[in-house]
């Protein structure tokens, strides 16, 4: 199950090229760069000369996959990075 548009919200975001398409804060719209770090609430994008911290909530991101561009509503990404992959409540162990 490689990185596809369907699996992207549960997959690793670090290393992907990303652009902020829309956001409640007009200053962050248009930021583009490589994702270098992720926290629960933030994505860290590294551009040519600086690093931005963009809140995931209230923003829409366009991720560049090799073949296509995927638009993701930032709300879907708000989670602890290692927990994002889990099928919530479907664990066999709980």
């Amino acid at each position: 199950m490689p990185l596809t548009p369907e699996t992207l919200p549960r997959h690793e975001l670090v290393g992907l090229d990303c652009e902020v398409v829309s956001a409640s804060n007009p200053d962050v719209v248009g930021i583009s760069g490589t994702v270098v770090m992720e926290t629960t609430q933030m994505l860290t994008l590294e551009g040519a000369d600086r690093v931005w911290h963009v809140p995931k909530d209230s923003a829409t991101f366009a991720f560049d996959l090799s073949t296509e561009t995927v638009l993701v509503d930032g709300d879907r990404l708000v989670a602890r990075p290692a927990r994002r992959t889990e099928n919530t409540g479907d664990s066999l162990w709980r």
């Binding site: 699996t7 770090m37 290692a82 992959t85 099928n87």
Partner: protein, 144 residues
Amino acid sequence: MRREVPDPFPLVKQLQGGIFWLFTKFPNYDLTSASSFGRHFPDADTVPPMTDEATIARERIERLQSLAREAVQAGNEERARSYVRRARRVAERHRLRLPRSFERSTCDACDTYLLHGHNARSRTQSGHVVITCDCGSQSRYPYD
């Protein structure tokens, strides 16, 4: 003379009664795929198809490993540490074993990604290899 014989397995009877009660309560319960109670009801078609999270987690670990290597090569050791820690956390959450190459090329003490000749020294001894990280901690593994 007739005597009342006590039931030798009263518990079995009780259990059977309990299972029968479950069937009357949940007639659609799919026993063939039952691994945990409360799921696998055939009429639950509102639930989206499950993605294989273990596969995604394995791919994440692989990706983070190569990202950590690139970060060390670019001189960004602190970033490599955070990638290694993230990969360990993903493996922990999904009960996956880390790949052997990952275990051997990361420092157990400071979590950095080890590049031989860059931030790690490798010395061969009789029967095993000793890797010394720049932080001073050593790890060993046998000849394969």
